[in-house]
Amino acid sequence: MVTKTVASYHFDTLAETISKLNEEDCTIIAGGTDVMVLHKSRRGVAPKIAKPVVFIDHLRELKQTYLEDGDLHIGACCTYGEMLEHSLIPNIFKKAIREVAAPAIRNRGTLGGNICNASPAGDMLPLLYIFNAKLVLRSVNEDRIVEIHDFIQGPRRIARQQNELLVEIILPEVVNEARLIFEKIANRRADAISKVSFAGLLQVQAGKVADARFAFGAVGPTMVRSQETEKKLLSQVYPLKVEVLDEVVADFASIINPIDDQRSTAAYRKTVALKLLRYFLTSKELF
C-alpha cells in the first residue's frame, strides 16, 4: 500500500487538546460522521485528510449537560444518542434527534459536530436558531461566547479561530408555555437529508403574541430567520388576523430563495416552507 501517515492526536484532557490547537492547524474529529464522509476517497483508498487530526469525542469535559441560572449547557461532544437519554434535553430537541439518520449515526454524531459542519440541512440547526443558542469557544487565551447565527457564516463556513474549540452550547431559558414545532421534510423516514426543515416558537399571553421565532433549514446557504418579521407579530391578537398572517408569510416568501438540486426543487422547498409556517401560526391541531 502507498500510505502516508496522518498525524493524529488523542489527548487525555481538554486543556492539552486546546493547547495543541494553539500550536497547529488541525482537523477536529468528534463523531466523524461528517468529516469521514467529506474526505472519502474512491473505493479501496483511505480518506485523505490534509491536516493533522485531533480526536475529541472521548473528552469527558465535553460531555457534560447541566442547568446553570436557568440556562441549559450541553457539552459539544454529547452524541444524539446521549441527548435522547438525558432528562434535561427539551422534548422538541428529542423529536428532532429521532429524525436524525439512524441509531448507528446517532451513537456517533454530536451536537457540536452538527453545528461546526454548518450544513444548510443540519438537523439541529433550526431549533438551535430559535432557541437563540450561544456557543462557547475556548482557546488558550479565553472563553468566547458567540451567537449561533454569527458563528455559522455559510455552507461549511464557521467563525471558529484555528486555536479555538467549540466546548459548550448554551440554550437560554425558554418560557415553558411556548408552543414549539419542528418538522423535517425528507425523501424518507430515516437516513435522509432534509429537503426543508422548519422550527417555530410561539408564545401567547393573555390572547396576544408575546414571542415568535421561526427558522427554516435547507432553503438557503444558512438557516433563514428574520427577527424583523418576528417583531411584527409581537403584541398581535391571537388567533392572528388574516392580514397579519399574510404579511408574515409574504415577508418570508421574499427572503426564502432555495435552489433546485438532486433532492428537490426550489419551487417545492419554498411552497412547503411557507405552508409549514402558515400551518404553525394557525393550526388548532398543534395546541
Binding site: V2, R43, R189, Y268
Partner: protein, 718 residues
Amino acid sequence: MITKDISQSVVKKDHVDKVAGQLPYISDVKMEDMLYGVLYRSPIAYGKVLSIEYPILPEGYHVIGAEHIPGGNFVKILIPDQPIFANEWVNYIGEPIFMLVGKELEVLYQLLDEAQVKFEEHEATYTLDDAIEKMTDVMATHEFGESLQTIEEIGKKAYQIIEEEYETGYQEHVYLEPQGMLGIYQEDEIQVQGSMQCLYYIKNALISALACDDDEVRVIQSPTGGGFGGKEDFPSMMACHVAIAAQVVKKPVMLLFDRSEDLVVTTKRHPSKIKYKTALDRDGNILSMSTEVFLDGGANTGLSPVVLQRALLNSAGVYKIPHYHAKGYVLKTNTVPNGAFRGFGAPQSFAGLESHMGHIARIAGKDPLEYKRQYLVKQGEPTITNGRFRDPIFMEDMIEDLLKTLNYKKKKEEFARFNQQSPRFKKGIGTSLFLHGCGFTGSGERDHIKATVKLLKTKDDQVLVKISNSDMGQGIFTTLSKIVAQELGVPYEEISFPYPDTKDVPDSGPTVASRTTMIVGKLLERAARRLKEKWQSGVEQEIVEDYVHEEMIPWDEKTFSGDAYPAYSWGVNIVEVEVDSFTGNVQLEKIHASFDIGKAIDERIVKGQIDGGMAQGLAYGFMEKMTSKQGRIQQRSITDYGPPTAMDIVHIESKLYDNPYAGGPYGAKGVGELTLIGGAPAVQSAIEDALAVPFYQIPITPEIIIESLEKREGEAVD
C-alpha cells in the same frame, strides 16, 4: 428435516453463514499477485473518439484496451452494439473506453486522471421525449391485436374517447452488494468469478470476446448479495473486462464498483411513456382500447427488445378488453443502458394500465375496484395474443376475501369523514390487480434456453444438485434442495447444492423471469423421481433431465400470437395511505396482499419475496427517484435516491391461495417478479383516493403532489 407439507418453512441453507457475516463475497477475495482494474469512462454522452493518450505507466501497471480483445469488440447479448471498450464512438457518459490494471488503487486513480482522450462531440439524445420526437433510433418494435381500422370504426360510434399519457421513471436495483468480478489466469483456462445471475450468459460472452473454445473459459458464481435483474445482463461486460485483462497480464484481476460508481453506470429499469386511447359508451363501458408503449433503451440494445415484449404482453393486465391493440418501441438515447429489472417491462405496463382503468372508472362515476372487476378475465378466455388462460383463476375470491377482511366499504366511508375534518392529512385506499407470466416468453424455453439439469449421486450416496442457477438471496439453495429431498424422502439438509461452476454444471438457463422454481424446479423434481427409481446404494449415479415443452397454443414471435406463457401467477394488493397535503409526503398505513403462486415451496422464503418485492414495488410508485440531466445520473448515493427504510414500510399482511399448476414442482408457479408489480399502481390509486387528484406518472413524489395540489388550488381560485 423432512416436512409433511413442502410449504412448511425450514432454515435456509445459507442462513448461518450469512447471519454470522462469514460468507466471503467477491470483494472479500484476496489472491496472491492480484491486481485491481479501474475503468476510464466517457465524460461525454455522444461522440467520436479522436485519440486516446494513455498515461505513462509505472512498472507493474498496464493498460487494457480494445486492441487486447482477441474476439469481437462487443459484449455478446442479443445484438453486437455494446462495445467492451468503446474506442471508436462513445454513446453515453460512463461508457468504458479502456481499463488500467495494477496493484494499488490509489496509483490507478491517479493514472486515470493523467490519461487524455480527445473526442469530436456530436449532438446527443438525452431524453425519451427527444427520442419520441425524432423516432430515428428504434431498437425494437412490435405490434399486435385488433386492426387499427376496426378500432377507428368503433371510435367513430363511441360516446367518448379517453386519451391519456403516462410516464414511469428510472428504477435502480440497489442490491446490497455492488457489482464485482474477478478474472483469474490459468495456463489452460480463464476463470471468472463474481456476483451474477446468469453463468452461461457470461460464459457465452467470454467465448465471443476471447475467441476461444468452450473449455477455455470457466464461470463460477460467488455468493451474491441481491440481483433483481441488475446482475442478469450487466455482469457480462465486467466479465469481459477482467477476463481480457487477466489473459494479458497473466495474473488475477479484480474489478469492483463502489456504490456511487454502481449507481451511475449500471443498468436501470427502462423509463417509459405509455399512451392510451380508449373508446367508451354512454355508460362508461369500454368499447376498444389501443396502447402505445415507448421504452427508453439507453445507449445500447441489451435485453430491451425482450423487455418490450413483456411490457406489451402485459399491457392489458388481468382484463378482458374488447378490441385491443398494442404497439411498442424501444428507442435509443445517449444515456446509461437500461436492462433487466424484476418485472421486466411489466411494472411499467401495470402502473400505466391500472392508472388508466382507475381514471376511466372515475369518468364513468364508479369505484375503481368495482369497475376493474367487471373486466377480469376468466378461465378459458383468450389472452390478448389469442392464447388461453387455461388454469383456474381465483382473482374474484381473492378480492372478495380482502374486501371482507378489510371492511372496505366502511373503511372508505371512514376515510371520507376523516378527510373532511382534517385540513392537512388525507387518507386513501387503493387497489391493484395483476398477474405475471411465468418463465420465458412463448417458446423461449424450448427454442432458446433448452434447460438441462443434473443430479449426481456419489458413491457415499451424497446427492448434489448440478444446475447453473444462482442463489442471490431468493433462496433456491433451500427451495430446490427441498424439492429434490421431498422426492427422495430424505432431509433437505442432506442435499448438497454448491455454488455453480460452468465446468461442473449443465446449462439450466439463467436465473431470471420467475422461471427457476417453476421450470428448473420441475426438471429437478423429475430427475429426483428417476434417481429414486434407479437408486443403487454405494454406486455413483448421474441423472440428466432436459426441458420438455408443454403442449400449448404455439407461439409465433412474428405475429405475437399464441400462448405467451405456460402459466400465470396472480395478485391483489390493497394499500392504505395517509398523505400530508402540505408537504406531499405519503405514509403507508396498511398493506394487504393476496397471491396465487400455485403452491409455496417454502412459506417463509415466499414471505421474503412478498415483503421485499412489495417494498420495491411500492417505492417505485412514490419514493425512489432517479433522474438524468444532460445524460448524467444525478443521484450518486443511496440517500439521494431514497429507497425505503424499515421506517417507511409497515407490516405487510399477506395471504397465499393454493392453485397447483401441473407444470411446476408440487404445483409451484413463479413468485419473484409478481410481488413487485402491484405495489406502484396500488399506491398511486391510494394517493388519488386520498387527494381526489389524478396522477399520470410514477414516482408520485412529494414534489409532484404539491405541484398538482397547487395547480388545483389555482384553478379553484380562477
